[in-house]
């Protein structure tokens, strides 16, 4: 075998109830290489990495680490063989410090019982300096921004002498600048002889940083490519298995009357802290207003306020010429507001209910679905059948519990419910989070279709590409305020990235 190969998987197969997550997957990782593992959600990337890291055991196939073969690893074996993993959902204990998190499981001991925190702190400091991963060893994890938390995860792996680093969707939670920073760290690491498997579904990033690309689809490796000879289009087709239109086709906006008028909005979050601080904007009929920003800058609270789910501390909201500042959610619905919520499992559906009942959650009490206290199930079923056809919701039947559908179809169901009736305002929060390219394409198309039909759309997304592809105007939220507004036609990623990081336009110019 090639001595340059640090990791090889051969014919890995893993069956989960109902899905073949990995189907005879094979690839090699070379020393000093950034290998991108590209694939849609559900393509089996994460399962494969969990097998390499020993969290899952394969049904068949072999993993070779530094030429040594393993059939059933444990995380401890993987760690001692030099495999480190940065999980998509950080594996950090939030109330503990950076140092405590880093040494957990490989503690620096003073004696048999007690930790030597002082020595550990020095080691952490040393590591963070050596790899350019600056972090305060005494900071408590939950006080740190996600970009820094990710650094802690990387240091955690390096601290365990990881030679092979697996980064699972590391860019999902970062700002464009933080992503650049991560890429810098990755390049630095491979220069020092580490090898990296970079898991992602973002084409741009793959082309920017990878040395080699392995594409997965439906649990299988469908191809390999080099960035130099690939384009976003070619990779996307490989990933999805057909031609994909990456650019959302949309004509110029034709804004009409103001549908939603928000004045000086102040909203508190769960703990009573002001999360939205004096936000003012209008959304007109026939335009898409995009709200960009790093997660957790008040977007969630803003959305909940403009859908009536969260009370206002201050300010006014006019929806279709009616004051709805103190209105309950149902009045928003009745005033013609549709809502695609950020967390579809929690706020978008009742998982154990059948698809048909989920589809009438916003109108079950009106005719023809209700006759007094009694539901008319014939009418509900007819309506549901009509909607799932119209919105291409793939479900075994309308009686199937919504929780059993795939993520993409669940979201299509939510979209069908919200757009299935005539509305004046659509509030869409992270409408395509975690969906496959096909579903994203469909939902983007629907949003544009609504705009063209004269609906005012408020689109909140932490995916910059989504905002840039769909919005006509973009406002950026930072720490609960609107830090800037830009015309989508002229906006650049750099410009938006700076705003998302809290740099005001005037500051950016003077700097």
């Amino acid at each position: 075998m090639d001595t340059d190969v640090v990791l090889e998987v051969r014919n890995i197969t893993k069956q989960f109830p109902g899905v073949l997550a990995n189907d005879h997957v094979s690839f090699q990782l070379h020393r000093g290489e950034i290998l991108a593992l590209l694939g849609e959600n559900g393509a089996g990337k994460t399962t494969l990495m969990n097998i390499i890291y020993g969290l899952y055991h394969q049904d068949d196939g072999e993993v070779f680490i530094q030429g040594e073969s393993f059939r059933a690893l444990s995380p401890r074996d993987a760690i001692t063989r030099g495999v480190g993993m940065v999980h998509q959902h950080f594996q950090l204990v939030e109330p503990m410090t950076v140092t405590e998190n880093i040494i957990l499981g490989s503690e620096v001991m003073r004696n048999k019982v007690f930790l030597d925190i002082d020595r550990a702190r020095l080691q952490v400091d040393d590591f963070s300096r050596r790899y350019g991963l600056e972090v305060n060893p005494d900071a408590v994890i939950e006080d740190l921004p996600v970009g820094i938390q990710q650094r802690v995860e990387i240091i955690k792996a390096l601290y365990r002498q990881a030679q092979i680093l697996i980064l699972d969707e590391p860019t999902a939670v970062l700002t464009p600048q933080e992503i650049e920073d991560l890429f810098r760290v990755m390049r630095h690491l491979v220069e020092q002889g580490h090898s990296i498997i970079f898991i992602t579904h973002k084409l741009k990033e793959v082309l920017a940083v990878a040395h080699r690309i392995v594409v997965m689809r439906n649990g299988r490796v469908v191809g390999e490519a080099l960035p130099a000879s690939s384009t976003q289009g070619s990779l996307a087709s490989m990933m999805v298995g057909r031609e994909v239109i990456l650019k959302v086709p949309k004509g110029p906006a034709n804004p009409g009357a103001v549908v939603l008028d928000v004045q000086n909005l102040h909203v508190c979050d769960e703990r009573g802290q002001t999360a939205v601080k004096g936000v003012t904007f209008q959304v007109r009929a026939g335009e898409i207003l995009g709200v960009a920003g790093v997660q957790g800058n008040g977007q969630t609270e803003l959305v909940e306020a403009v859908t009536g789910l969260r009370p206002l501390e201050e300010g006014r909201m006019i929806l279709a010429e009616k004051d709805v500042s103190k209105a309950p959610p149902r009045r928003f619905t009745e005033q013609g507001s549709g809502h695609i919520p950020e967390n579809r499992h929690r706020y978008g559906m009742v998982e154990p209910y059948p698809v048909s009942e989920n589809l009438v959650l916003n109108c079950y009490y009106t005719t023809p679905f209700a006759r007094g206290w009694v539901r008319d199930y014939a009418a509900i079923d007819a309506y549901a059948t009509h909607l799932i056809e119209l919105f291409d919701v793939r479900t075994p039947s309308i009686a199937t519990p919504a929780g059993n559908l795939s993520g993409g179809n669940q979201q299509k169901m939510v979209v069908a419910r919200e757009l299935g009736r005539k509305i004046a305002l659509l509030v869409a929060a992270q409408p395509t989070r975690g969906l496959d390219v096909g579903s994203i394409e469909f939902i983007h198309g629907q949003i544009v279709k609504q705009r063209d039909a004269g609906v005012a759309v408020l689109l909140v997304s932490s995916e910059l590409d989504e905002i840039m592809a769909l919005a006509d105007r973009i406002i950026v939220m930072y720490k609960g305020e609107i830090i800037g507004e830009v015309d989508a036609a002229t906006a650049t990623r750099e410009q938006l990235g700076l705003l998302m990081a809290g740099v005001r336009p005037e500051q950016a110019e003077s700097a």
Binding site: Y53, L55, Y56, H57, S74, P75, R76, I79, M85, H87, Q91, L92, V93, E94, P95, M96, E100, N101, I103, L104, G105, S106, E107, M109, V113, F114, L115, I117, V140, E142, D143, K156, D269, E270, R271, Q273, G296, T300, E301
Partner: protein
């Protein structure tokens, strides 16, 4: 949003802890000074004697012993992610085990008999806890249900096997520690006690230090907050949970041993009388830390002492029923006032499966 929320809670909490720890020091110093004055001066002739007399303080500490041990049991289990509402049952079973062995070994010299009885209480508490761990970890039974099973089982078994004719003779006597016990009031209250009381005091300090400065403590806190993070770092989450739960059960058993071998000298049906539950309140009020739990247990113990002293002093201006309510009112106020502000381990009560 959820993370941010937790973050804020954490901050509020640390601020609150700083504040309360400063205040509690002030309160302790003031109370100690007053207690000395009550003991040594004419102040002792006044109503202050009821509140700060040596007998009240002694009573408070004694009442706090089983509560503290129960609360420590809860801290050890829950920090590792296993909810333990079965403390009451583990304590009761421990008390019964201690009593049976004490009676059966009555012919042996008293220290040996007491030693065997204490060991039995630890063993029985540990076995009950093992059952709880088995149900909640291996069989994934809801931990509240499993805890209830432990309580019901302990109540049933001890009632069934208890023989009122059994009489235990002798118990742990007070041991005055030379020099320390001569300190006015404080020494007399703290350093002239039975062996289990000393063990409790040592355990509070030891567990506090271990929980925050040892490898075991770090891992315990990690598996109670984020078991997956610990697992990915090669820590065997469920094995540690078994260990911690069993150690917790042994602590609860020791609490039962205190009741039989140090406080009462005999066993009565249902003699724990809700102490396991008050322990849980003390654990929550003490924010899942050993020292905090001890402080809370002292407060609850003191409210019992006060009830006792007020009744003895023959206070008639308030109906005695209201005085009898005092410990419960204090518990309710403490727990409802603070419960939203303390922070339980995040993964408490959740089954952990590595695949």
């Amino acid at each position: 949003m959820n993370t941010a929320n937790k973050k804020q809670n954490g901050r509020n909490l640390s601020a609150l802890m700083r504040l309360t720890s400063r205040w509690s020091w002030i309160v302790v110093v003031v109370l100690f000074t007053l207690a000395v004055l009550v003991e040594r001066t004419a102040l002792g002739e006044t109503w202050l004697r009821v509140f700060l007399g040596k007998s009240a303080l002694n009573f408070a500490l004694r009442a706090a012993v089983p509560l503290t041990l129960g609360a420590l049991s809860g801290v050890i289990c829950e920090r590792s992610g296993i909810i333990n509402i079965g403390i009451e049952g583990m304590m009761l079973a421990g008390a019964f085990g201690a009593f049976v062995v004490k009676v059966k070994t009555g012919a042996l010299p008293l220290p040996i008999s007491l030693f065997l009885a204490t060991m039995t209480a630890l063993l029985v508490g540990g076995v009950m806890a093992y059952l709880h761990a088995l149900l909640s970890i291996r069989y994934k039974v809801n931990q509240i249900i499993s805890g209830t099973v432990i309580i019901t089982l302990a109540t049933g078994l001890t009632t069934y096997f208890f023989n009122p004719d059994w009489i235990s003779k002798g118990k742990f006597g007070d041991i005055a520690i030379p020099l320390l016990s001569k300190i006015p009031v404080l020494g007399e209250v703290l350093f002239s006690n039975g062996l289990i009381t000393y063990m409790m005091l040592i355990l509070v300090v030891a567990l506090q230090v271990l929980l925050f400065h040892s490898q075991w403590g770090l891992r315990t806190r990690a598996i109670g907050e984020h078991p997956r993070a610990a697992d990915t770092m090669g820590i065997n989450v469920n094995r540690m949970r078994y260990y911690n739960t069993i150690i917790g059960g042994m602590l609860a058993g020791l609490g039962g041993a205190f009741l039989v071998l140090e406080a009462v000298g005999q066993f009565k049906e249902g003699m724990t009388a809700g102490r396991g539950f008050i322990s849980l309140a003390a654990m929550i009020f003490g924010n899942w830390t050993p020292v905090g739990a001890f402080g809370a247990a002292l407060l609850f113990g003191y409210s019992q002492a006060l009830q006792n002293e007020l009744l003895l002093a023959g206070v008639t201006s308030v109906p005695r029923h209201f005085i009898s309510m005092l410990p419960y009112v204090v518990t309710i106020v403490a727990v409802t006032g603070f419960v939203g502000r303390t922070r339980p381990p995040a993964a408490e009560g959740q089954v952990y499966e590595s695949e």
